[in-house]
Amino acid sequence: MSAPSGGGASRDGYGAALLDMVDDDKVVVLEADLGKSTKSCLFRAEKPSHTVSLGIAEQNMMLVAAGMATSGYVPFASTFAIFSERAFEQVRNGIARPNIVVHICGSHGGIHTGTDGSSAQSIEDLAIYRTLPNMTVLHPCDDVSAKALTLALRHHDQPSYMRTARNKVSRSYSEESAKELTIGKGHVHRTGSDVAIIACGVMLNEALDAADILSKSGINATVVDMHTIKPLDTELVTKLAKECGAIVTAEDHSIIGGLGGAVAECIVSEHPVPLERVGVQDRFGESGDSDELLQLLNMKAKDIVKAANSAIARR
């Protein structure tokens, strides 16, 4: 499948989706000062009556959203991924535990956030939210898929956390192909039987580049956009484990507990095969541009190639 041209940041897709829902009077948008960054500002500009500013106070925002949700509204609450974590216990006890449908968006996730440095680079959000019963956890790769998945959340019947990213990346979806996206179902971008590369977020592009490099040495890789970390598409992961016999995960997140952790948990129960996890190796990031950081932390396409060869060798 050829990647459509152009580029977009997943946070732009979130903002575009909110704007698409502007005529839906049940949708409310909550902000904690970072609307210009998360792109909820687009909705605010069109519909201030249904936009609630809570200031720099994420804990309050989460429970205000819960209160509105129990009164018939569908809240979309956003801040930076890292600051949502400040309200983790509020999400745990106030949203996930009573299963109140609040959709949380954490933008600027991962080391790809870049020059702001390690304090802003959440590399653990997918892991922590994944542990909560009732929560759906999403991490789309580009603006087009982020828009489609955000729109899908409008009628999703469980609370969710979606991580978006700050920076533009090459698009992997067209408006048309994004229509095939379903929460909880991985999207196969390329098919090969030698190794499966399961990626999410900005790492999908690196995974597709890695598949190109591998093909030059005769290795055919399947590449999956696993935009839903929870519930994981275990059916697809198990099928890939059986068909390819070797798996690589690629995520802009700690290798502990995120996509790599979820895939490991799945295959160890269903069909154990060699697995290599590309991601942040149990360390914090630092300031630098996105590509410099991907290089520094061994998260480029060449690193995925290396991991694929290693997984195949262990088969």
């Binding site: 009556s49 429970l63 018939g72 509020q90 006890n93």
Partner: protein
């Protein structure tokens, strides 16, 4: 048309509060655990709210236009369950499921388990924010339903409370009332020794809230305060009620030990006698 409260006078309300006190002690004694002190300090106000003010529908607990009561100090669950029994949401049998497997009366009040409960509490500091959400939704709906949030005084030590205190004024939320149960005791000891809070009324007032102080065991003052809060129309209202932790049971009164402890058999019998 669902009416406010239950149409009861002060004498009836005081009798109801006494029955609730007996059930609070019975529940806690029955399971050998729970929080009697903060239930007994709050129960007169709970009686005033359910008996005099809240528009709720026993036949339709999830009725969208009901008034909301958010018990943020969710450990005072025996107090809530006892009044929900009086109001008709729970049978007496339900009360004896307190803290038992599969029971509607969970350790901390929980909207998923108990009819008539609007908020799943248990972790302090969250209820005001939830109440703000309910109140904002009512305003968006153009509904006259109101939201009432009860906070403990120890709970005011949570930072999230002050995020909410600021937000309620910023958004001019006039369909929201906070009631602070100023009983002066928290889990470990007297609030004064754990984290001094000085003048609670002054703190709320300085953020822009309308504030009224009352004796939280005087039913006449309780009803006046509820009526007053309804008349505050330019922002949120706060009732700081001075109460006695463990009120009504002599050995529990103002005794930090009975924040979260059950009486033994002798103490239970003494309590039943005092509350007869």
């Amino acid at each position: 048309m669902v009416e406010r409260g239950m149409g009861l006078g002060i004498d009836d309300l005081e009798s109801m509060a006494k029955r609730c006190r007996r059930n609070i002690v019975r529940m806690v004694y029955g399971i050998g655990a729970g929080h009697p002190g903060g239930s007994l300090s709050a129960i007169d106000m709970l009686t005033g709210l359910y008996g005099h003010r809240l528009r709720v529908d026993v036949d339709d607990p999830a009725w969208g236009d009901r008034d909301r009561f958010i018990m943020s100090k969710g450990h005072a669950s025996p107090g809530v369950y006892s009044i929900l029994h009086e109001r008709g949401f729970l049978t007496e049998e339900d009360l004896w499921t307190f803290r038992k497997l599969g029971g509607s009366c969970q350790g901390h009040v929980d909207m998923k388990w108990c009819p008539g409960v609007d908020f799943s509490a248990g972790s302090l500091g969250m209820g005001l924010s939830f109440g703000i959400g309910c109140a904002l939704a009512a305003k968006l709906d153009g509904s006259e339903r109101s939201s009432w949030v009860m906070l403990g005084d120890g709970e005011l030590q949570e930072g999230q409370i002050w995020e909410g205190v600021m937000a309620a004024v910023h958004h001019e939320i006039d369909n929201l009332t906070v009631i602070v149960d100023r009983n002066g005791i928290q889990n470990d000891d007297f609030c004064e020794s754990q984290m001094r809070m000085f003048d609670v009324s002054e703190k709320f007032a300085s953020f822009g809230w309308a504030v009224m102080e009352i004796d939280g065991h005087n039913m006449s003052q309780i009803l006046d305060a509820i009526n007053w809060a309804d008349q505050v129309t330019d922002g949120p209202a706060c009732i700081v009620m001075h109460t006695v932790k463990g009120k009504g049971v002599s050995y529990m009164e103002n005794n930090p030990k009975f924040h979260g402890a059950a009486p033994n058999e002798e103490q239970f019998n003494m309590a039943m006698e005092e509350l007869s």
